[in-house]
Amino acid sequence: MDVLTLSRLQFAVTSMFHFIFVPLTLGLSVLVAAMETRYVVTGNEMYKRMTKFWGKLFLINFALGVVTGITLEFQFGMNWAEYSRYVGDIFGAPLAIEATVAFFLESVFIGVWAFGWNKVGKKMHAASIWIVALATNLSGLWILLANGWMQHPVGYVLRNGRAEMVDFMALITNPFGLLKFGHQIVSGYTVGAFFVMGVSAWHLLRGRNRDFFKASFGMGAVFALASTLMVAVIGDFHAVDVAKTQPAKFAAMESIWDSCRNAPMHLIAFPDEKNQCNLVSAFPVPGMLSLLAYHDLNAEVRGLNSFPKADRPPVLPVFLSFRAMVGLGTLFIVLAAVSIFFHRRNLLEKYPWFLRAMVLCIPLPYIANQLGWVVSEVGRQPWIVYGLMRTSDAVSKSIDLSQVIGSLLGFTLLYGLLGFVDIYLLAKFARKGPEETSIGATGAFGK
């Protein structure tokens, strides 16, 4: 193990851990805002209790999302100094803008929302959670524009021994970043929606607070169907863009070794990286891959063998992650549709097996989010900035092995411990009914 490998591992650990909390923040902020808006509009107390119950879970999750985000910003300098120096002129801008434009807004108004129940009026209180939701999404936009630039660098020239920004508009209208943002945001909404449905199903199985959790489930189900459909649609456009801008990644996603026209998609395939071919490929759907990649049955899809070996990403993790992600995404659409149907027909409690399944499904959208990032980031290798800078050239020169071993161990232990506590608290308060919920403390009034 060298500094490069361990630094990569550390970035993977810290960003994947961060991303346990981000998608739920994205999705639940919007759902809680919708609940509080219903309360303000209808005056129905149940929606106020909904806001508080789900809002408390939101805050427990939010805390860890915020504090683990700082790690990522610092790591660019700490472990990837050569990268930061080479591309900071253009890559630093979206990060600084994110902090100034979005992160401030989010962090200030979360304080207003959590502590301001008796300080601001109903409407202002609901407005503050909408501001948090908006700012969280806006944060995602700038971060994904930054990531989009690493995937598909635009708006720069090589000058003074580094990449310098020459076109800010190109940076912020980079289709890669915008598509990724769209795909990610609705993926986050999916996590939020399935979280709400799963926790509601748990309570419905026990017959507690039935109206409350049926209403929650219903809101989650509508949100889930809208989100999962959007995930698929935007994901399709995203894949088309990847095929164009990152053909090697696309080939790895589909495990295509030889370029061909009218490329079929094999329903069952398994890559054999050593022999540069597929171990198995069965059930071809003729022309399907060309259609998916270029929206044209006769388009040519480039295979991995058309790239020098040094420019290919690891195929197996990218291929498997992509398949699993797409499979899960499809499953989510079906589940969301069935959920809406059962909820509308008031059949939820008639089919406890379905409710049980929905409880078990809570982790699945999280996993799909992580898989998506594996496709995105492992698939970008060996580049840190696609086609411009190799990951191996990006690592800091001044840090030594013992430092990185120490930090990796430290992060693993600390994150492991905090993740355990956070999930424990989430589970604890998710199981408690809405009656006992107050935002800040254990739930017992006046304590």
Binding site: K52, A63, V66, V67, T68, I70, E73, F74, F76, G77, M78, A81, Y83, S84, R85, V87, G88, D89, F91, G92, A93, L95, A96, I97, A99, T100, F103, F104, L105, S107, V108, I110, G111, V112, A114, F115, G116, W117, N118, K119, V120, R159, N160, R162, E164, M165, F168, S398, Q403, S407, L414, L418, V421, L425, S438, I439, G440, A441, T442, A444
Partner: protein
Amino acid sequence: MDLHIVWFVLWGVLWGVYFMLDGFVLGGGMLHRVLGRDDTDRRVLINSYGPVWDGNEVWLVTAGGATFAAFPTTYALMFSYLYTPLLLLLFALIVRGVSFEFRGKEDGALWKGCWDWAIVVSSFIPALLFGVAFGNIFAGLPMDEAGYHGSLIYLLNPYGVVSGLLFVLLFLEHGALYAALKSTGALSRRAEETAKALWIPLLVVAVGFLGYSNFATRLYDNYLAAPVFAVVPLLAVAALLAVRLFLAKGNTLAAFAASCATILGVVFTGVIGLFPNLIPSNLDALYSLTIYNSSSSDYTLRIMTVVAFVFVPIVIAYKVWVYRLFRGRVSAETLAGDHEAY
């Protein structure tokens, strides 16, 4: 206008404002168990900065982001050279943030006791490390063409330790004043007494720091070249004296404001002395990181200037609104009457 200078000023302001705002949370955190004698006291303290600590910490993220965008070479080298202290800083800030959120979520004495200690330790470490780091930046880091020759042990040189101590005491004073201002009854009085008691050691260390800087750093070169800037350290000293004066008069609000001015004054005193360096080399001035040799291109600086000048005033506006919204003291009674309190 030379945008390098604009960004140098902004860089100093972002750090200054961060220390001014997070300083009282870090200081209060260090005093968490001293001022907060029982669970109610401690909850009062947490609820007094509950609505604002997260927004305050974003000044740090913005200072980091601004360094990245405006001075990427400094960002890259500073963060990789100071790898281990920054790591400890990160751990501490992570623990502090979740401590505020998690502490009230269980009732057990062991649970709360653990998080109380976590708050104390995770507030002390950043205060000390920021001081040590900035002291070493003022004095210059050992860097030349071969890179960096320091280590965590190196950073703990006498001058680094003195500035670390200065930051710890500045934040302790600041935190005690904030607690006096935001709480009631015995807790508020205790905080006020603590602020009075801390003031003497703070004054001693501050004077020591100013004197030591003359030998350990080249900060004063700029003041000799342009004596008009000496007004900044003088104001810092005046503000520190004003803290005690206002405390004697029982005006905690004015004392807290003077403490804000002291922190800003100390940071600006150092930053003015650094100009045009961001991180001087104490081996060979040729390898100092300056606002010219480590900056972004003019184009990037222009874009970032527009962003900063449009959005920073907006940020300040809504932050002022929030501070006004949550003005007033937190007490056992307000907590008992607020089901949503932490």
